[in-house]
Assembly symmetry: D2
Homo-oligomer: 162 residues x 4
């Protein structure tokens, strides 16, 4: 089972750009600290998100399906949205960013997805007090990356789009 | 983990030919019994194998690596060769044939791989008394297909290429 | 320019299935005459078409766009629909079938597209008196395949969907 | 014919990374002048080239074939090497960089290929006095990019590997 996952991961990242993305990662890494790298990837994520048309849908499940339609068309894995008491948990699985940018880049490469989700939730008009941040480091060898959409002040947040 | 496997399986089979292969499977199924379908797929496998250049190598491990180079370039999964007392076990993992021909076709579609391995071992000059056959049905929801290269008479077989 | 076309054609047909489709073409060819091969490919085309959801649209241009959306998603080339006095001309460009089934198969492989378009026009409810047939042989080294939707009796046909 | 080229160009650039590369291009463009952008892309090209194993071969034709093997495996187009009196002309066709980075980036994006070819010729041990530079701007709507390997001083150069 785990051998299959390794096999599929290797196959997932497009051969056409893998060498370029690896070169980008190495060069990029040599030029900045983690903070800067994350900031740049975050910006790329914001821009990337803007190039897709996200249909919000009426419920959390339709929103999730709408995001997964985009991710599946790109072969960028899949997302699960879970509402908790005071936050929304965004769990992104099977993204190709580990293979594209390398394992050593997992400290900063997930900021790309942080940018994408931030743009998407903003475009859906969520409460301005909410902020999306990565929760911990990439898990299960970079296969799961978790984000949290949460109110800064800790008050009860409203995820429903206005 | 198992969700990831499902995700990757869906992505693995080339979109370009999936509708054609699905149509082929349905039409084909309607025209013959399992015996005939297996015979036809076996022949396709023999022909398919002939279009690849297999480097045998000196050991079982180099032969396995050589097969996996071909499978990986096609994104057809990977193989493991295991020598047992009186036979060679060929375990093919993560093939795209379940998604291509459908789950209902798993009774006959693996004959394609049977044909490929038969051609490859013959081209390597294995003992003519050895025969390759599928061992049981496709396992783990079609993710593992096992073949056996074994002497008919049950005498000790020689896998070493002459 | 023509070198680029050759380059792109080679790249277009999915590596994953090219060896299988080549084997299928050779084996298939050995078993029947052109008439039978065309009949089988036509049936596969009918089935294949049924697996896509074609949005008809109000005009010939929206219908064309709708077909091209499907073809582009598969990387099967693109189509141009032209209304003539007594028929509709369907010109399919840049299909991968020459590379998939081989040049020698161009006598029968286009019947696959004949089946697809036949199913699509029937599903749109065109006049039952109209029939779709291939017009001549594949042109420009198999890069253009032309079909005609025309009334058998030669009376003026109505392409408008009922 | 030209419609086919447009069709194939659109299909060539991997969907998986196109949005990312477009975002990278826009963001990157906003941060530097053409000189800086070229310098960065050149560095990425050097690193990228290092990740491939180039077999030199004995003649200009085998070297060309060896480069084309790499480019074809990536679906990055194809190259033609032509020896002139005092220089070697490297003509790269059908690269995906126009679609990846956008037409407006053609002023600096070809520096990526400049880096790749520079690394390759250095790794083959060409005369240190030779330098590879882009010759003019990208031609035929970005479909052809020409480089020149030439001695600075204008003396007769030796392309033969030592």
């Amino acid at each position: 089972m785990s051998d299959n996952i390794n096999y599929y991961e290797e196959q997932q990242c497009s051969t056409q750009w893998r060498a370029f993305l690896g070169a980008f990662s190495t060069e990029f890494c040599a030029q900045g600290d983690v903070q800067d790298l994350r900031a740049f990837m975050f910006k790329l994520g914001l821009r990337m998100a803007a190039s897709f048309k996200l249909d919000g849908g009426a419920t959390m499940r339709t929103l999730e399906a709408s995001m997964n339609k985009i991710w599946r068309d790109l072969n960028w894995g899949w997302v699960q949205l879970n509402e908790e008491a005071d936050s929304l948990i965004i769990e992104h699985n099977a993204s190709p960013i580990k293979l594209a940018f390398g394992e050593q880049a997992l400290e900063w490469s997930p900021a790309l997805l942080e940018g994408v989700y931030t743009h998407w939730f903003e475009s859906l008009g969520v409460d301005k007090a909410l902020r999306l941040t990565q929760k911990g480091t990439a898990l299960e060898q970079g296969r799961v990356i978790v984000f949290q959409l949460k109110k800064h002040t800790g008050e009860h947040a409203h995820f429903t789009r206005r």
